[in-house]
């Protein structure tokens, strides 16, 4: 990603110098910090038994506890503890033998108690790491991101701002609160500062969040859908002149709602900060808001007047002391690491790197593995999902996995392998299944799509083709094998593609004395 910066660009009003990203990275080195919030997929909330289901009618999944009514008390969800420990173990953390909840005190209408029950100086998991790999000019490079802590907290309610000209928060006449989401378990994963990424900072950040997402998905602890808010990323970055040995002032960027946005937000922030520094301005320590449409960030609440959270140990909850036996039981439950799994599948399927990357980026790895597990031949499974199914999905603007099941596709691929369907016929069967005409067998029956492999039926078509093109037939008899293509084509057309082309060729040549 490069950019040409125009001094006439309003962003740079009054600037004496303008740097693009590449130029910025020649003078400054970035230090990253990433905070990821994960919404757990437990049945009930963190501290009460209300349902966590998404999309309920407003304020129908609340109780005295999550509404913060006077007298209400929290009780910890055991499954949430388990999920958090699993996350910590998957990130190579130490699980604290003693951890506590703490109150983070601040006022905001979406917070029923005006404090968040969270963890402060005694989090449940500490000191882990995650290795990521990115593409650099010198080839693939590994980065180890160190994890400072993994801790538990609770989500807030949702506010709707009504009135005002834009419907956004400034200028709203009033706000409406729905507390269904209040109290849903959140896990916060905080990295240590990440130095040494240089110009690859945006990619490293994206790779980190991606790998983290895949690990969380493999653990089954969250839906991890960034667009839906079950995975949230705040990106922190600061710049310092290369070799200065110092750290710059950092900014925090929120509202980063996709993997691509992680990369774009850091790219934009690095450019912004570099340009400020170049023009003799200091970087303000603040929270910024990422803007999807422009890739820029705008200032939010200034962190320099940050709230004093007045953390203290939560008196309504008792400490969490997971014993070694329980931790080992959970460790045994850890699934294969996504990166290990990817390498293993690539070797098993003998897939070249480029195609593997394509599969991973298209998020088709799981469904391809499923399809293969159901008996489909690996290459065909990959080709169909990456090819035809993805093409159709693109057209219809839906996810490939929503169009057809791995079971149905595996069945169709099996029919191709046994010769009962040609590729062309198979495409029609896929179309039929997608259109809801039934199972592959139903579609084949209804549309009469079986390959014609009955020799006598084929001979009828072959003789008709020969009769229609006597000169071509003569050439073939004379030894011109390639000429058979025209006759084979004619037979295929006549049978509506239902003929097995290889069989037609065999019979034709035999018939014309060239077998």
């Amino acid at each position: 990603m490069g950019s040409h910066l125009d001094l006439a660009d309003p962003r740079f009003a009054g600037a004496l110098v303008a740097l693009n990203f590449a130029q910025a990275m020649e003078k400054y080195e970035p230090t990253l910090g990433l905070e990821v919030h994960v919404e757990l997929n437990t049945n009930s909330k963190m501290f009460c038994s209300c349902a966590t289901e998404f999309g309920g009618s407003p304020n129908t999944q609340t109780c005295p506890v999550c509404l913060g009514l006077p007298g209400a008390l929290p009780v910890v969800n055991a499954k949430a503890i388990e999920s958090t420990i699993l996350i910590g173990l998957a990130l190579n953390c130490s699980i604290a033998p003693y951890s506590r909840f703490a109150r983070k005190n601040y006022f905001y209408p979406d917070m029923p108690k005006n404090f968040q029950t969270s963890q402060y100086d005694e989090p449940i998991c500490v000191n882990g790491y995650l290795d990521v790999e990115i593409d650099t000019d010198e080839g693939p490079a590994k980065f180890r991101i160190e994890i400072e802590r993994v801790h538990m907290e609770e989500d807030t309610g949702k506010s709707l701002h009504v009135g005002g000209s834009t419907g956004r928060i400034h200028g709203a006449e009033y706000s409406l609160l729905d507390y269904n989401r209040a109290g849903i378990p959140l896990v916060e994963i905080v990295t240590k500062i990440v130095p040494g990424t240089g110009k690859y900072a945006p990619q490293v950040a994206r790779a980190y969040v991606t790998e983290l997402r895949d690990i969380l998905r493999s653990l089954g602890v969250s839906d991890v859908k960034m667009e839906q808010g079950s995975l949230r990323c705040d990106a922190n970055v600061s710049l310092a002149p290369i070799g200065s040995g110092k750290l710059g002032t950092r900014s925090e960027t929120k509202n980063v709602n996709s993997l691509r946005s992680v990369e774009r937000a850091l790219f934009g922030e690095i450019e912004r900060q570099a340009n400020r520094l170049e023009n003799g301005e200091r970087v303000v320590q603040e929270t910024r808001h990422f803007l999807e449409d422009t890739g820029l960030t705008r200032p939010g609440r200034s962190k320099e007047q940050a709230e004093d959270y007045r953390y203290f140990p939560e008196p309504d909850l008792v400490p969490v002391t997971p014993d070694a036996k329980w931790i080992e039981e959970l460790r045994a439950k850890l699934p294969e690491k996504p990166s290990t799994r990817r390498k293993r599948l690539q070797a098993e399927w003998s897939v070249p790197d480029k195609e593997m990357t394509a599969l991973i980026n298209a998020e088709l790895l799981d469904v391809v593995e499923e399809t293969i597990a159901l008996g489909a031949e690996p290459t065909r499974a990959r080709t169909w999902w990456l090819g035809e199914i993805s093409r159709l999905a693109n057209e219809k603007e839906v996810e490939p996995t929503s169009l057809i099941s791995s079971a149905n596709l595996a069945e169709i691929i099996a029919l191709i392998a046994s010769g009962e369907l040609t590729d062309k016929l198979a495409r029609q069967v896929v179309e039929g299944v997608i259109n809801g005409e039934g199972s592959p067998a139903d579609v084949i029956a209804k549309r009469g799509l079986k390959v014609v492999s009955d020799d006598s039926a084929l001979m009828v078509a072959i003789e008709a083709a020969i009769a229609a093109q006597p000169d071509t037939a003569e050439r073939i008899r004379g030894g011109n094998i390639p000429a058979a293509g025209a006759l084979i084509g004619a037979v295929m057309k006549a049978t509506g593609g239902a003929a097995d082309a290889a069989k037609v060729r065999e019979l034709l040549l035999k018939h014309l004395g060239q077998a």
Binding site: P70, L73, D316
Partner: protein, 499 residues
């Protein structure tokens, strides 16, 4: 013939024998309330409909031959800090004027299961902060012994209701002495169970690690009967003890302290205590010796820091617990004229909704927790707490229970200390250490101070989860005192001068 001067145990007995119905008993109490409460002001809300419905239901069950508990059908006054579904719960504050909770507290659930008839909600210092009930937003309660004096606090309404025979049973809550000190100055009995012994679910929190609901009555046995009805594990309270309810009724009936060691805590008796209070306390010690106990002196040097630590820990927790009162979801809302933002409305609501003492403690607590001050204040106070626990642990190796006068003075005049916060805080000097360590504490009447003829309370402190020891000593002392006097103390209360 009115039965309101019977003990709860006697009422339960009469109900069981069919000598009276619960409806009759309940109505007698409402009549008494109508007669005297304009002077006493113990109650903030009366639930005639609900009470009579419960009374009727208990009578029906009894008539059908069901076996009911010892206090089924007996009336009770409930401190207004505990939620009762659809019944106004104000916590003595303007902030919750008119609020009706959509749920019952654990204590209320247990009371209903026991068949107890809840007459209404009693007055209290706002959000349980105070020692005189003068901090109520709805006006003070008056001590039935002398209407110009305070009934103690924060649970003055409950204790006054007992002393005025408006109810034979009451529920209070105790954070630094709010059950025991009112009991002392009204000549009634009050117990703070071991922390975690009674559910805090639905107890509007003041200081979460210190708060505890507890039984109040006119006799030790009545208190024990109520204690067994409300104690027990509640899975909705993570700090609730998961152990069998202590056998306090049996202990209260035991009337035997032979061989027990009674520890007098040097630091919370003697100097600093009103002469008459100290006199009655020492006389009670003598009775216990005559009953076969041994008095030992123990020293708990860190108790000298207990008050200071309490007035850091409690306000800190309170500042956080009371943050929820922001006018957004319940309670009053002030200043929402369509031109003000949420934060401004919060600020104005909290300015108007909270009284002086509550605001003082919120600010103090905010300060003690704030960045840069945490270690010196809140952090240090938590360490003092450890030292107090250790003092108790050491003392309990030398004595089975510890004792002291409950409060340094008898009931003072309304208005006498309300302008001097520190003077007011000193009322809790003997009761606070108990909450800090989470152990059990009881106050029972041990006489009238000779200089003013006002009730004096005797405090008994028992180790964690050994509440029965308090009741054993308390029951024995009560019997010995009653025997010495020839009557109970409360029976000596002057008739109330009413309109």
């Amino acid at each position: 013939m009115s039965s309101i001067r019977l003990s709860a145990a006697q009422m339960g007995d009469a109900l069981a024998k069919g000598e009276i119905t619960s409806v009759e008993l309940t109505n007698q109490h409402f009549d008494r309330i109508a007669e005297v409460d304009s002077a006493v002001h113990a109650f903030l809300h009366l639930d005639k409909e609900g009470a009579l419905a419960q009374a009727k239901s208990v009578d029906a069950k009894r008539a059908a031959g069901e076996k009911l508990g010892p206090i089924a059908g007996v009336p009770l006054a409930l401190k207004d800090v505990l939620t009762q579904k659809d019944i106004p719960t104000t916590c003595g504050s303007k902030m919750l004027e008119g609020w009706r909770p959509p749920y019952d507290s654990g204590v209320v659930t247990k009371l209903k299961e026991a068949g107890v008839v809840i007459l209404g909600k009693t007055n209290m210092d706002e959000f349980a902060m105070g020692s005189s009930t003068e901090n109520s937003a709805y006006g003070p309660t008056h001590n039935p012994w002398d209407l110009t004096r305070i009934p103690g606090g924060s649970g003055g309404g409950s204790s006054a209701a007992l002393a005025a025979y408006e109810a034979p049973l009451a529920i209070g809550t105790d954070t630094g002495g709010s059950i025991r000190q009112p009991a002392a100055v009204t000549g009634t009995v009050g117990v703070k169970p071991t922390y975690g012994g009674v559910s805090r679910y639905g107890l509007v929190a003041f200081s979460s690690s210190l708060d505890q609901a507890g039984p109040c009555a006119r006799t030790v046995l009545d208190t024990a009967l109520l204690h067994e009805a409300i104690a027990g594990h509640d899975s909705r309270d993570s700090t609730s003890i998961n152990s069998p309810v202590p056998q306090v009724v049996a202990a209260a009936k035991r009337l035997d302290v032979k061989g027990m060691k009674i520890g007098v805590v040097k630091e919370i008796s003697g100097a600093g205590f009103q002469a008459g209070v100290q006199t009655r306390f020492e006389e009670s010690l003598q009775l216990l010796v005559e009953a076969g106990a041994e008095i030992v002196e123990v020293s708990c040097p860190n108790f000298d820091y207990a008050l200071a630590a309490y007035y850091l820990i409690a306000p800190s927790e309170a500042s956080s617990n009371l943050a929820r009162f922001d006018s957004m979801r319940y309670g009053i809302r002030v200043g929402d004229d369509g031109n003000r933002g949420a934060e401004e409305v919060m600020n104005l609501t909290r300015q108007v909704g909270f009284g002086r003492e509550v605001k003082r403690r919120i600010i103090l607590g905010t300060y003690a927790l704030s960045s840069g001050y945490y270690d010196a204040y809140y952090g240090s106070a938590q360490k003092v707490r450890t030292l107090i626990k250790r003092d108790f642990e050491a003392a309990f190796t030398k004595a089975d229970v510890l004792v002291s006068p409950t409060a340094p003075t008898t009931a003072f005049k309304i208005g006498e200390k309300s302008d001097d916060p520190l003077a007011m805080y000193l009322n809790d000097i003997a009761t606070i250490p108990v909450n800090m360590a989470g152990i059990g504490g009881m106050s029972l009447p041990c006489g009238l101070a000779p200089e003013d003829g006002l009730p004096v309370g005797f405090q008994i402190m028992s180790p964690v989860m050994q509440d029965d020891l308090m009741y054993r000593v308390g029951g024995t002392l009560e019997a010995a005192l009653n025997s010495k006097w020839g009557h109970t103390l409360i029976s000596q209360i002057p008739d109330l001068q009413v309109r």
